[in-house]
């Protein structure tokens, strides 16, 4: 049952935020027109310019309010240091699309970007980080990440290649008392939606090492999942980006969906 793949395109809800602008603009356009009326063309023109500027502001400020949309989304973590936190822009979008198409998770169409010191962090119980290079957190970020994770947040870290050393070092700062432990194949994570009896799939070959899934558990709850030597994120990219074969991409998507479903149900 779980392995059937239903392809269907849901209605695109990306235009929802703009509906707010119309009543707001009306409320702004009417008072200046009334005030500056009586044929004073210059005044009307001036007011119209004001209005356009106002509308632009509103349009811009409406964008972050999309974050408050209750659809499930995943926020990409923007971290300091030398890492390319932004790598693979289609990864989350494809995962969200996969969730929408294959499961009944009501996912958003866009990814969000968040920093650890941002208050909006707590709108996203699931954050994603990836990269190749050096990950480094400030002291404040370490504290913020620990609070976030111990209070109900979840971090998925995807090693795109070369992030391992710095990531482990930084996680030790966040959880000095905890180690990243390997998640056994019979763990619920590998069976939450799709059955993955061999655990973490290997998506992208770098060093000929077996893929490993690590996790940090806090009070019995998985708070960090770290995929090492697998690069699930790579397999989530649009097909043309890395030319991964379809079966690898399918495996990556299944693994990622399992992870989201697991977090949502635990």
């Amino acid at each position: 049952m779980m392995n059937t793949i239903n392809i269907h395109t849901p209605p695109d809800p990306s235009q929802e935020g703009s509906s707010m602008i119309i009543p707001l603009s009306l409320s702004l356009i009417i008072p200046p027109l009334l005030k500056g009326g009586r044929g004073d063309l210059k005044a009307i023109l001036r007011n119209c310019i004001h209005l356009i500027i106002c509308c632009l502001f509103i349009a811009i400020s409406a964008i972050p309010s999309q974050a408050q949309d209750d659809k499930i989304t995943i926020a990409r973590l923007k971290y300091g240091g030398g890492g390319d936190w932004y790598v693979g822009q289609t990864q989350i979008i494809n995962l969200l699309k996969g969730l929408r198409e294959r499961t009944n998770v009501d996912s958003a169409t866009k990814q969000e970007v968040v920093q650890l010191t941002d208050k909006r962090l707590y709108s996203y119980p699931f954050i994603y980080m990836t990269g190749h290079g050096n990950v480094s957190f400030t002291e404040d970020e370490v504290k913020a990440l620990r609070l976030y994770l111990t209070r109900g947040g979840f971090l998925w870290a995807n090693d795109d290649y070369g992030m391992d050393k710095s990531f482990r070092r930084e996680m030790k700062r966040v959880f000095p008392e905890k180690d990243l432990v390997e998640v056994p194949f019979d763990h619920k994570l590998y069976h939450s939606y799709y059955d993955l009896p061999n655990g973490l799939p290997k998506i992208h070959e770098h060093d000929n090492k077996p893929p490993k899934g690590y996790a940090i558990f806090y009070e019995g709850r998985m708070v960090v999942f770290y995929d090492y030597e697998s690069d699930i994120g790579d397999g989530l990219e649009d097909a043309q980006v890395y030319n991964d074969p379809p079966e690898k991409r399918e495996q990556a998507l299944r693994m990622a969906i399992n992870l989201v479903i697991y977090v949502l149900t635990n």
Binding site: D70, N104, D106, Y122, S123, G153, I261
Partner: protein, 736 residues
């Protein structure tokens, strides 16, 4: 003052006309006689005949003489003396008790006469004693303060009723004002329309005393889980003294469960101490809270307080059906995992119409009985079309007939177009959603509590109302709201969206169960979204645990046979009203059950109770306790020899605690009674003013007597004499 009245049966002018006509006929007849008549005889005959007719007409008019007599009578003064137990106290610095003070001032001769004697000069003085009942005083000197309750309202109403139609110049009410039962005395005073002169006995300043004034504890507790007991201690005159407060279980050993010490400080008003215990056994357990006593205390009777707690073994069972994995589910699931008293089964729908396999029970309950093992059901963001019709009717049956409770926890699938508002569950929703589903409003708002919401166990996140309001104001906002059309009649709104002026949290009873509706989602933000603002998930968890507990407590009363008393604590002279409910296995009321019931007294003797049917499976009886202590009532219901069920309840008879709770003179009450009734207030030493201040109303009693004038032998004789004389004259004149 005498006058004459005539009959009302016909008017006087009729009599006059008859008289004139008869007169004319008589004159005419006597002027045309067969034999000639001389003038004198004619006049005499005419006069005699007219007179006879006149007398008969006079009788027909029924003239009566009305005689009025006026007498002057003394009016009454009713003296009501409080003989409740609080009157047996001696105020600090006094050697005599309040009741003895009263007896002294009433009877001691100040100068020449006692108060009663001076009252008697102008009035008829009627002496009553009152506490919970009011009776005439037989002998003032032997009056004792033994009443268990004080009902000033009844004392006023009943004596005024007794003297209805009689002149009452005033009521003299002698009391400490410790009214603690029955109707509002101010209303009684207003209705009485008799001036009430109140006499205050005792001191208005608080007497030296230490008492357990209040105990707050959940009536239901869970075995092996901590049961917090909040105790309020009041004290006066012992500031700085260290006392010990103990919590004992009233078993055979009276074992001590918890204790703490407290430094008394009367400036704080009530001082709160927190005690706790962990019940180790199932059933109804009696506990006693006591505070150590001090020398010279006013009374030690208010230093202990007893209460019952029903300890249940099983965790509350919750069935949570969710339409799709979402954060609302994630965080609620985590909150439930932290709650030791709740056991939750989850069903999360999959896209294919089944359920996610990682959670038991994996299937919707098969039968109504399977369903009824749950206390509360939560319906998340799920469309009614997901369910089969018989499953929807099972949900309805669960609420209506099994006393289960259902929570609707927002989402566009459940409230939007095609949602529950259009399903057969429409009736059970407390909010009217309307035809095309609720309007979905994506604008942040903070729910605001209604008046009921301030104190309701579901929304009471703090016992302090101000703090509670602040907590709700500071909770992270809700970002999506489902605006219904209106609230159903009989439903209660706990919180609303003030921007929309529409209910956010509302509930209603449906049949035996409750239905709670939360018209929004993103409540999980109360847990997770609180951290950036320095908060935590404790209010989120408290909200949910309070909600589940309260809804489940509705169900615990849904046994087939249940028995309750209206109160948990009674005083000795109160009647205990016991109510039993009997239902059959389908929860239809049983009206032909045989009820065997027994009450066990504190002396371990038993007595049978006879219940009578009121209606709809409700049976009642009354019982008058005779001693203090705990009582247990066992009820067993049968029908045609088959057992339907058994149940029991317990209550405490704790006499006099009410009388000793507030012992100072309640002057404001007495002043208000005097004011509203047109009397005045005096302290006991000013009682000598009373005889002169009561307005002497001279009462004239008018009595009337009526006597008929015609109704005697003389009238008859006169008529006969007139007609006989006329006949004799006519005979002589040869006219016969």
């Amino acid at each position: 003052m005498n006058n004459i009245q005539l009959s009302q049966s016909f008017p006087i002018w009729v009599a006059v006309i008859i008289l004139i006509i008869s007169f004319a006929i008589v004159i005419f007849s006597y002027y045309r006689t067969d034999k000639p008549l001389n003038r004198r005889s004619r006049y005499i005959l005419i006069a005699l005949r007219i007179l006879a007719i006149g007398v008969i007409l006079f009788c027909l008019l029924d003239p009566t003489v009305v005689m009025k007599e006026e007498t002057i009578r003394k009016s009454n003064v009713l003296v009501l003396v409080d003989d409740s137990q609080s009157m047996s106290l001696a105020d600090s610095g006094e050697k005599t008790t309040r009741i003895d003070d009263v007896k002294n001032v009433l009877t001691s001769k100040d100068g020449l006469k006692s108060i009663i004697e001076s009252l008697d000069e102008h009035f008829n003085t009627q002496l009553y004693q009152f506490s919970s009942e009011v009776t005439p005083v037989k002998e003032l000197s032997s009056l004792k303060a033994q009443g268990n309750l004080t009902d000033i309202g009844k004392a006023i109403t009943k004596t005024v009723d007794d003297w209805k139609g009689q002149p009452v110049a005033g009521i003299v009410l002698i009391t400490d004002g410790g009214h603690n039962s029955g109707e509002d005395p101010i209303r009684s005073a207003q209705k009485a329309s008799v001036p009430i002169y109140t006499i205050g006995v005792g001191q208005t300043k608080l007497p030296r005393d230490i008492s357990v004034s209040r105990v707050e504890v959940s009536p239901v507790a869970y075995m092996d889980h901590a049961l917090p007991v909040r105790v309020a201690i009041s004290s006066n005159g012992y500031d700085g003294r260290e006392v010990r407060i103990k919590l004992n279980q009233s078993d055979n050993f009276g074992s001590l469960k918890d204790s703490t010490s407290l430094k008394l400080d009367s400036r704080l008003g009530e001082q709160i101490v927190n005690l706790q215990t962990k019940p180790q056994q199932e059933g109804t357990i009696k506990y006693t809270v006591s505070v150590s006593s001090a020398p010279d205390e006013l009374t030690q009777q208010n230093n202990t307080y007893a209460f019952f707690v029903k300890v249940v073994k099983t965790k509350l069972k919750v069935l949570y059906i969710e339409g799709n994995p979402r954060w609302e589910f994630t965080f609620l699931n985590r909150a439930f995992q932290k709650d030791p008293n709740v056991e939750v089964n989850y069903l999360i729908a999959t896209k294919q119409g089944g359920y996610y396999p990682q959670f038991p029970p994996k299937t919707f309950p098969n039968t109504k009985n399977d369903f009824s093992s749950y206390d509360v059901m939560i319906l998340g963001n799920i469309s009614p079309s997901f369910f089969k019709n018989e499953q929807l009717s099972m949900i309805k049956d669960f609420v209506e007939n099994r006393g289960g409770s259902t929570i609707f926890l927002g989402g566009e699938k459940s409230y939007g177009d095609g949602g529950f508002g259009e399903s057969m569950l429409r009736d059970i929703l407390p909010i009217d959603i309307g035809q095309n589903g609720a309007r979905e409003i994506k604008a942040q708002f903070n729910p605001v509590l209604t008046q009921q919401g301030m104190t309701h166990p579901i929304t009471r996140l703090s016992d302090d109302p101000q703090e509670n309001t602040a907590i709700w104001r500071d909770l992270p906002p809700i970002s999506r709201f489902y605006s219904g059309i209106g609230i159903k009649s009989g439903a209660t709104v706990l919180a609303e969206n003030q921007q929309e002026k529409r209910p956010f949290i509302a509930f209603q009873r449906y049949g035996k169960g409750m239905v709670l509706m939360i018209a929004g989602d993103d409540l999980w933000q109360w847990a997770f979204g609180a951290y950036p603002f320095g908060g935590d998930d404790s209010y989120y968890r408290k909200f949910w645990s309070g909600t589940i507990r309260w809804l489940a407590s509705v169900r615990t009363q849904a046994d087939q046979v249940s028995v309750t008393t209206r109160k948990q604590t009674y005083s000795r002279d109160e009647k205990v009203r016991v109510t039993a409910y009997v239902y059959n296995e389908n929860y239809d009321p049983v009206n032909d059950a045989q009820i065997k019931a027994q009450v066990q007294t504190p002396a371990k003797t038993t007595r049978d109770l006879i219940f009578t049917l009121e209606e709809n499976g409700r049976y009642t009886t009354e019982f008058s306790p005779t001693m203090d202590g705990s009582y247990k009532i066992d009820v067993e219901a049968q029908r045609n020899g088959n057992l339907i069920g058994k149940n029991s309840t317990e209550f405490i008879v704790q006499t006099a605690t009410l009388e000793f709770l507030n012992t100072q003179l309640n002057e404001p009450l007495l002043k208000e009674i005097a004011d509203i009734s047109g009397g005045s207030y005096y302290k006991i030493n000013g009682i000598s003013e009373i005889p002169s201040s009561i307005k002497e109303t001279k009462d004239t009693v008018v009595s009337t007597r009526e006597r008929s004038i015609w109704d005697n032998a003389f009238v008859l004789i006169a008529v006969i004499a007139l007609l006989t004389t006329e006949w004799l004259i006519r005979k002589r004149k040869g006219l016969v």
